[in-house]
């Protein structure tokens, strides 16, 4: 059966043909996503605040494992129950980043590859893109944009746009040394997860960026600018 080109175009642009995740997949993701986030946050907090002797050995992996498992406790005993109440589920990108950074800290061999710097300009480009997208989505939430950006995230065209932007950034800026760093694969894998399971909501913006990740991008970019200025000897306050 041949589908006419204009039908494909209409399907691409339509915002009224979203595919939403099934309730069971959403529940699974709620726990899986917060597992990754909790484990990473726990290990980072431990690295910063725990006594020095507790930062090595089996402690980090134990803490990460316990925190990850806590998300699977039933009902109100699970932190995911309360995090979901407040923030719903994390984006796929957030969960993948947390899982990746967790692996960096817990598995030295994986960490060696993960921590090897991906091209800075590529990370920065992704960060700025996320920053701008987040601001646009926030303005749209308060109906301050002339278009309905969040609703447009229900369309295949929005998925196409995200694929295009990620691909262009990767092709143009991603001259990664061999082997290709896992950092570079976070957005494509997130898009693949979204396309397959529609996580977390069926809207592509929720898959690639959540408000906490957007806040973290601000912190990342401010730190980056601060470090760069300091390394160049620029005064911090001008």
């Amino acid at each position: 059966m041949t589908v006419p080109l204009d039908s494909w175009l209409a399907l691409m642009l339509a915002t009224d043909a979203p595919a939403l995740p099934s309730p069971s997949v959403m529940q699974l993701w709620l726990r899986l996503g917060w597992s990754a986030v909790l484990a990473w946050v726990g290990v980072v907090a431990m690295g910063r605040f725990a006594p020095v002797r507790a930062r090595g050995g089996a402690w980090p992996i134990t803490v990460a494992g316990l925190l990850a498992m806590s998300a699977w406790l039933p009902g109100p005993y699970s932190p995911a129950y309360w995090l979901g109440l407040a923030f719903q589920a994390p984006s796929v990108v957030t969960a993948l980043l947390c899982a990746g950074m967790l692996a960096e800290r817990l598995v030295p061999s994986a960490g060696a590859q993960w921590s090897a710097p991906a091209p800075n300009r590529l990370k920065t480009a992704f960060a700025y893109t996320g920053l701008v997208l987040g601001w646009a989505l926030l303005l749209d939430t308060f109906a301050l944009l002339p278009l309905q950006l969040y609703a447009w995230g229900n369309s295949a065209a929005a998925v196409g746009l995200v694929v295009l932007v990620a691909a262009v950034l990767w092709v143009v800026l991603g001259s990664a040394p061999h082997p290709v760093r896992a950092h570079l694969w976070v957005v494509p894998i997130a898009l693949m997860v979204f396309a397959a399971w529609r996580l977390p909501t069926g809207n592509v913006w929720d898959a690639i960026l959540d408000p906490w990740l957007w806040v973290a991008l601000h912190v990342y970019l401010v730190r980056r600018i601060w470090v760069r200025n300091r390394s160049r000897g620029f005064p911090l306050i001008t």
Binding site: P23, A80, G100, D140, A143, Q148, H178, A182, P188, A195
Partner: protein, 396 residues
């Protein structure tokens, strides 16, 4: 966490090729998952028989709907006409508890029995702890319910459920009938999902008014955003009760609780509550079945920051239940219009003092009569049945 590519080091061309293949795979998978495009929406009139002269509507019966035992607060009723084969002609849902926004608020329901012409004793049909357990995450408070019968004859409920915060932290929880039957004794629900309506942790959308039914068995559900500002939005659902998208109804940022009224199958009006002091009933209009909406000038009807409920009965015959005085919900009127702009008082449903409250009206057309329910002082839900000719049943 390392993904190896074949040596030698990928060139820009190799990366381009890989990006194209991956991009096409993602897009292909995405499109393959999506449902077919819906046909253009077409609204359906609520009455399948001739509509009487709306100017001759008289109250035939009325009273208070039974409350769940021991509950002091009641608010935000929603009416659901039942299919003709059901024992009940009408179901009503509202939220009830010790107090509004209290932790023990649940969704209550009652049904109007065709044979006894009485409301059944109320019972709770939605509990936030049960729903939270099934969703996997907590619901802090329950609020307005809105009921709808999908193409499969299942009762769907859309319920305001808050996260951390007050009503501004609300989300819209979609529930679907899980019991085999629709009778009140067995009526039970299970969550479908919290509707994905906002990027900001999915806050702050609320539902209040009845959906506009469509010919294809689907419907358009009016909702509104209310974190700081307020704006109305319409959601489309297919006959299976699946979410099919959202469209903003107005560019104005002080309007909430839209009520959708059909002028014709593709021309609809949205009457809205105005949160400003000295507000008027506001209105927006679509002529392409909800794809695009245009703000119209406010009506001359006063609106004391109170919910309105509209119903399009037939071409040129519209009804609007509304509080008609400034700064008080003490008077609840039923007005009629031929064009949606010029309104005439058809009937005063309630006329109390300045501090009385007769608010949050809901309307439905069932078996040749207009049914209206509304909140009385946030303690009870009252009902009235209006018809052009006397009907059998208890007198008010």
């Amino acid at each position: 966490m390392v993904l190896m590519l074949p040596s030698p080091v990928p060139s820009a061309v190799r990366r381009l090729f890989f990006a194209l293949v991956a991009g096409c795979a993602i897009l292909g998978l995405d499109i393959w998952q999506r449902p077919q495009l819906p046909a253009q929406a077409s609204a359906v009139w609520p009455a399948d028989t001739a509509v009487p002269d709306l100017g001759k509507l008289q109250v035939q019966a009325g009273g208070k709907i039974p409350m769940p035992a021991g509950m002091a607060a009641a608010h935000a009723s929603s009416l659901l006409p039942m299919p003709s084969g059901d024992a009940a002609s009408l179901s009503v849902f509202w939220f009830s508890g010790d107090r509004e926004s209290g932790p023990n608020v649940q969704i209550a329901a009652s049904q109007y029995d065709r044979s006894t012409q009485q409301w059944s004793p109320a019972r709770f049909v939605v509990n936030r702890f049960v729903m939270a357990e099934q969703l996997g995450y907590g619901l802090r408070r329950l609020g307005n319910p809105v009921a709808w019968l999908d193409g499969g004859g299942r009762v769907n409920l859309f319920v305001v459920a808050t996260g951390w915060g007050g009503w501004a932290a609300s989300r819209v929880l979609h529930l679907r009938q899980s019991s085999p039957g629709r009778g009140l004794a067995e009526l039970a629900f299970e969550p479908v999902r919290v509707l994905p309506l906002s990027w900001l942790w999915n806050t702050s959308f609320l539902v209040r008014n009845a959906p506009l039914p469509l010919v294809d068995g689907g419907m358009v559900l009016p909702v509104h955003f209310e974190l700081g500002i307020k704006y109305p939005t319409a959601l489309r659902f297919d006959k299976a009760g699946e979410f099919r998208g959202m469209v903003r109804l107005s560019q104005r940022l002080h309007l909430l609780q839209p009520s959708l009224v059909m002028e014709s199958p593709h021309t609809w009006l949205a009457f809205m509550r105005d949160e400003r002091p000295q507000g008027k009933v506001s209105v927006a209009r679509t002529t392409d079945a909800g794809v695009h909406w245009t703000d119209l000038p406010d009506l001359t009807l006063d609106n004391p920051d109170a919910a309105v409920a509209g119903l399009g009965m037939a071409a040129g015959q519209m009804l609007l239940a509304h509080n008609s005085s400034i700064a008080s919900r003490g008077t609840l009127d039923l007005s009629r219009s031929a064009n949606g702009r010029d309104w005439t008082l058809a009937h005063t449903l309630e006329h109390g003092g300045h501090d009385d409250e007769y608010s949050y009206p809901a309307m439905a057309w069932v078996d040749g009569a207009l049914w209206v329910t509304y909140t009385v002082d946030r303690h009870r839900i009252a009902w009235q049945r209006l018809a052009a000719a006397p009907l059998a049943g208890p007198k008010p």
